[in-house]
Amino acid sequence: MGSVSPDGAVSASQPLPPPTPSEGRVVRTTNYVQTAIALVPALVPAAIVVGIAVTLVLSTGFHNFGWGFFGPIFNSNANQFGMLVFIVGSFLTAVPALVLSMGIGLGIAIASTTYLPRWLTQFLDPFVDLLAGIPSVVYGIWAFVVIAPIFGLLINPWAVMHLSFLPGFASNRYSPTTAGTGLPISIFVLTLMALPITTLLIRDALRSIPKDLWESGLALGATRWEVMRRVGLRHSSRGIVSAAFLGFGRAIGETVAVAMVIGSVTKYPTNVYDVTWTMSSFMFQILDAAFGNSLYLSALAELALVLLVITLTVNIVGRRLVSHIYAEEVAGI
């Protein structure tokens, strides 16, 4: 058939047909039809998110509450819907809880990755993850029945006696309620609930420190603490900040457990032990009472929007900071 010439070239016995017109065109690799069909189920979560937002927007009835919406006075009977009280309550509980859970989470993560032997961390780490699996309402009943009395009868009075020189720590009674509900226990509960997120994310961030980098620090004559503090934390800073954002999102969105221990009173706290209400717990408990009152419902829908915007923002920023998409191993965080 063909022949081989002296320089090794192979040729056919007949000349090759001219190239077909399809050659030379750009080859498209995306199958648009396939992608379109795939998008339908894939967009379900996005659709739900949008649906939630749209529903809430519609439910506000587009009442223009104006900037008075963020006003300080809330009196549903007088049709005054200033939500500032609840926003303040949310932040007063979530921010300290975030600080505490970040601090504890950082400590646990550092201990787990740097100081404890492997077998021990494998045993202890799941306990922190287990905290994430406990339903909010179970936290709440335990906190209300077991822990709140401790706050009401022991911790709060002790603090009044010994710490009243600090701003806000003085009180003319030991505790507004000796049941112990109010800010301190709410912060306690939120700290515990945000702890799994912060610890898990910080632990992941620390685990991703390259071994070489770590050993370089030690090889220069530094102690483990020094390497962690000066090199490790810097290297993992993005992951740690992300943990803060996502932990805050959890703390401020937490509803039922807080509702059970916050005291559920519409007031600005006068001291650190006082009862109050947060956005989420207020929304949860008051929906019944707003039944039929369309103005009230609109206001609540708008409050829900505020909470939604805060949560979405915090989550988006927090997740942008890390490159992996699903940081948590579907532990329900």
């Binding site: 032997p117 492997r118 390259p210 070489d212 980098l213 050993e215 370089s216 620090g217 030690l218 090889a219 220069l220 004559g221 530094a222 102690t223 020094e226 000066r230 090199v231 810097r234 290297h235």
Partner: protein
């Protein structure tokens, strides 16, 4: 302990006697005896898995970071057993520095990288400034970075980063510098610069260089130690080992029969 080993001269900075490292499965190093005199560069060569990385890591007590290893024998620094109880490994690592295979610069400025080891101990800013400049000069990096030391270390090229790591290690004025295949992640140009630095440094301190590249050993080292499967097969002046080895195994490795 080998009584038959010649007593090391006053000149010896590091002396290894009967060093054996065992894991649960196997013996990684078997009764190594080796001396490292002052102002020299000893290349430790051998096929992969022969234990050369483990060997250098025993010299600055980094090997104890790997769990499950047993260390027998002694490593002497200026006549003192570094594994003696009561010796703080942090102190050992200050006198015996290490540079790793990949450039491991810290996420800080060039200055802060070089000053890292100093800041742990000193607080005098002026002294730190001087020491950083001296270290960068010794590492052959000063001219290239002196204009902006506050730049992030990541803005340097790979070869420059590795020289920064050398400077960082030199800043605390160790007498010994361990280098574990420091140029294997670098391109030929960067390798050249690093080798030039090593040739200069061997006039000042003791360098122990692990390398899989026999020609690199030929270029920079005074002495070569050949390890195989955890045993020290042969050690001697570079020219002797590479051109006129006494052992068959050495001859085979050096001529590239096995890698």
């Amino acid at each position: 302990m080998s009584a038959a080993m010649p007593a090391p001269s006053d000149d010896t900075v590091v002396a290894v006697r009967g060093l054996t490292v065992k894991s649960k499965q196997r013996t990684i190093l078997d009764r190594i005896n080796l001396d490292f005199p002052a102002k020299s560069l000893t290349a430790v060569i051998g096929p992969s898995g022969c234990g050369k990385t483990t060997f250098v890591r025993t010299v600055n007590r980094m090997v104890e970071l790997t769990p499950g290893l047993r260390i027998l024998g002694s490593v002497f620094y200026l006549g003192q057993d570094i594994y003696a109880p009561g010796v703080n490994p942090v102190l050992v690592r200050r006198r015996i520095g290490m540079v790793f295979q990949r450039p491991t610069v810290f996420p800080m400025s060039i200055f802060e990288n070089a000053a890292f080891g100093l800041r742990l101990v000193h607080e005098d800013e002026a002294a730190i400034d001087r020491a950083v400049e001296e270290a960068l000069t010794r590492a052959g990096l000063w001219e290239e970075v002196k204009d902006d030391l506050d730049r992030s270390a990541f803005s340097l090229s790979g070869g420059q980063q590795q020289r920064l790591c050398i400077a960082r290690a030199l800043a605390v004025r160790p007498r010994v510098l361990l280098l574990d295949e420091p140029t294997s992640a670098l391109d030929p140009f960067a390798t050249q610069r690093v080798e030039a630095t090593l040739r200069r440094l061997k006039e000042e301190i003791v360098l122990i260089l692990v390398t899989h590249n026999v020609t690199q050993a030929a270029r920079v080292s005074d002495r070569v130690a050949f390890l195989h499967a955890g045993h020290l097969i042969e050690v001697g002046p570079t020219a002797d080992i590479l051109e006129r080895p006494r052992e068959e195994l050495t001859q085979q490795f050096v001529t590239g029969r096995f890698a």
